[in-house]
Amino acid sequence: MFVRGLKRKCFDGEEDIEGTLAGIKAIPSYNLQRQSLLDMSLVKLQLCHMLVEPNLCRSVLIANTVRQIQEEMTQDGTWQMINTQSTGQASLDRLVSTDILCRSSREQAEGKHVPGYGTFNKDFEGDQGQDSSETMSTASSVQAPRNLQSNIWEMENPQENKGNFQKSLDQIFETLENKSPNSVEDLFSEVDNSYYDLDTMLTGMMSNTKMGHCDALETFSSPTNTASNSNCKSDLNELDHIVEILVES
């Protein structure tokens, strides 16, 4: 299965050749290790098997690990650092479709504002059954672990999912529609190429060609926010999956 390896740190220009953890001469800092572990966990959670139901025990354990890391990072204060980094830029330019996609209908109704991966402020408008429409809307931030959890657990509630993802789709379309050409180019220029491998892999998993707009969405990934990239891909997976059900039912 695809798992991103731990990042190896280069010290004094020396590159470490050995692959094993024990062999690394320059041991990565605790923060870096923790961040790597967090990234790895998120990737694990989001790569769900399309055909067979994912192992619930494994998902729960990984989600608990993610929560644990985030709690520690919040206590450390490193959490705030990530947040300020993201909000520093113009929020309108950034699409974190993840957040929209990840929220359960309950959260959206409550309009939670919790620090999470990628941050915007948004006035949520839930218009169900709406096609690409005119009104501008931006996503609001939600706590990432909740998003992930609602993704995983909601395998059980396809009906609920349909509602969620329909809303999510609408919001994404709305945002896309209203981008001015200049900002679109800017977005493209910000795309982080290092994630194209992940993209290709995950796109390959998507069998449903009807979700063509998902491919377009993938290119709008936020470059500085690695986690939201991963989130985006997984939710597109989920989206695809749900739409398959919708179409077939």
Binding site: L6, T20, A22, L56, C57, L61, T65, I69
Partner: protein
């Protein structure tokens, strides 16, 4: 041959059942001692093979249901036929395995090859007689217990009343009667109202071997709950709660994952239970909830490799464990096709390997050793050379004798005590 996913001796030890990833069940029978083959005692040969489960498709969720057999449990033998329960993720089946070694000959209305006889030609009546035939072993599904589990079934356990059994999935445990397939009682439900609050799942469950009202279930957080069905219909409130306090000095991000219990087994005498987590096996006295009475390290050398094992998902491997008949020795598997035995009385432990190279027929197994650091001695193997794809997850011990069955991926190994 497919990957073996479960191994189980029956109550007498004469039969050994294996289930595999392809939904097949293969039953081995022990050879009887005979004068012509004096060494044949102890050999198990194939007795019956049948397809227990087929892959299915859940149309509502648009997901496949694997045919992999998760568990097999035998019923005690009550007549000439043998009964076992086999389960995949969603459906439990009761199979009857019976022998046929006679057939009737001399029918009046049909020939030996089955063709109907011309009634005009029948001059006399005869009574059909039973003639011996080659032994045929038939397996037929007698009950199908379906549609009771939303989540994946991880355990089944036959009650000591031999009339009921439990089945456990990630969030619920159901009680069944062996005769009734259209109804089951939910006795444990840990599903939270809001699934986003889910942080713990059920990993294994088992009935007490003698007390038919008592069962235990283990969780992904390393806890075991003992429940008494007499106290209430829904056993959400446990009678006993077993948990070892965490050692704060060894806390890491992986602490919870490695504390997740993958198997729980009562001792034969019903006084103890054994739990298997990622790195150790623990024996608990049922009367003491705050800590186990014995802890055995299975492969402590992996503690420094947890991050890599998390990366390649090996940290989620579910190892099983088993008692010998006397409850004096416990056994569990590890990586590199190693399996470990711990003698509870002498506190001695052994590491053995199940592989073609190291075990010729009738050869005595050589103990293995993993080198944890420093200089590697001649026969030792270093931690980095271990093959993590060769994992022994399923082992079984004969109920009365020193016979063990070890499943190594798609091979089954049978070992016995040295015959003097």
């Amino acid at each position: 041959a497919d990957i073996i996913s479960t191994v189980e001796f029956n109550y007498s030890g004469d039969l050994l059942a294996t289930g595999d990833k392809g939904g097949r069940v293969v039953i081995f029978q022990r050879e009887q001692e005979s004068k012509s083959r004096p060494l044949s005692r102890g050999e198990y040969n194939v007795y019956s093979t049948f397809q227990s489960h087929e892959p299915e498709f859940d149309y509502l969720k648009s997901l496949e249901i694997e045919e992999k057999i998760n568990k097999i449990r035998w019923l005690p033998q009550q007549n000439a036929a043998h009964f076992l329960l086999s389960t995949n993720d969603k459906t439990i089946k009761l199979w009857k395995i019976s022998e046929r070694d006679k057939r009737a000959e001399g029918y009046n209305l049909k020939d030996e090859d089955g063709r109907l006889r011309d009634p005009v030609r029948i001059k006399e009546l005869r009574v059909p007689t039973l003639k011996p035939m080659d032994l045929m072993v038939e397996a037929s599904p007698r009950r199908i217990f379906a549609n009771a589990h939303t989540y994946h079934i991880n355990s089944i356990s036959v009650n000591s009343d031999y009339a009921t059994y439990l089945s456990a999935d990630d969030l619920r445990i159901n009680l069944w009667h062996l005769e009734i397939t259209n109804r089951s009682f939910n006795i444990v439900d840990i599903k939270p109202a809001n699934m986003e609050e889910l942080t713990e799942v059920i990993t294994a469950a088992e009935f007490h071997p003698q007390q038919c009202n008592v069962f235990v279930y283990s969780s992904s957080k390393g806890t075991i709950r003992l429940c008494d069905m007499r106290s209430s219909a829904l056993c959400d409130r446990h009678s006993k709660f077993f948990e070892e306090p965490e050692d704060p000095s060894s806390r890491s991000f992986f602490s919870e994952i490695i504390s997740s219990i993958s198997d729980v087994k009562f001792s034969h005498n019903g006084r103890y239970m054994m739990t298997r987590d990622y790195l150790s096996v623990k024996v608990w006295d049922l009367n003491m909830e705050n800590r186990p009475v014995e802890t055995y390290q299975v492969h402590e050398y992996l503690r420094s490799k947890l991050c890599s094992l998390y990366e390649n998902d090996c940290i989620f491997d579910k190892f099983e464990c088993c008692w010998n008949g006397l409850d004096s020795t416990i056994m569990t598997g590890s990586y590199n096709n190693f399996f470990r035995m711990f003698d509870r009385n002498t506190r001695r432990d052994t590491t053995l390997e199940a592989s073609r190279e190291s075990s010729k027929s009738r050869a005595i197994l050589k103990p293995r050793k993993v080198c944890t650091g420093g200089k590697r001695k001649k026969d030792e193997i270093s931690v980095d050379s271990l093959d993590f794809n060769k994992k022994i997850l399923h082992t079984a011990w004969h109920p009365t004798e020193n016979f063990i069955a070890v499943a190594a991926t798609n091979n089954l190994y049978l070992f016995q005590d040295k015959v003097n």
